[in-house]
Symmetry: C2
Subunit: 95 residues, 2 copies
């Protein structure tokens, strides 16, 4: 979700928080730190008062986000087939 | 891992067990059942004595496995960049 939101362009913390409705502040901070630590996200601090922090996908992050987006698109595309398979399995688990 | 192994072709339970060294019987059984339930794997039971069970990727499973393989290849390709980013972050966590 964070990667998808940042794929649309750089975001300030508050913008991300609004876009990722329901995410706790703690989870968002941890997620951003992990993405930053893994080199997927760049963190820019503007010397305003108070300082303004912007997050942006790095090239590495963008290529990772592309893979994740492909997987998300795949799961949306085949959601129906998977649900049909699950329903069939649940009625005849061990034929 | 199971998907990768089945990408190479149909496998009997024992063959999978040998290929996935270290996986517990319980975990393998649960993994195969989940993959089967989600329609990614087809389970064939040959009427031998004792019955011989073979597992095979479905078309759905093959297309899913392709995405996963892409993600695995990506992580292998960028392993060094990620480790460099982590090392840099760990020395200067909050510049």
């Amino acid at each position: 979700m964070t990667l998808a939101e940042l794929s649309a362009g750089p975001r300030r913390y508050r913008e991300l928080e609004r876009a990722l409705e329901g995410i706790s502040q703690r989870m968002m901070t941890l997620t951003l730190r992990r993405l930053e630590r893994d080199g997927h996200v760049l963190r820019h601090v503007a010397p305003t008062v108070p300082p303004s922090v912007t997050y942006e996908l790095s090239d590495l992050g963008r290529s990772f986000a592309d893979h994740i987006a492909g997987l998300v698109a795949w799961s949306r595309r085949y959601k129906w087939e998977i649900e049909m398979a699950q329903a069939a399995y649940d009625t005849h688990p061990e034929i």
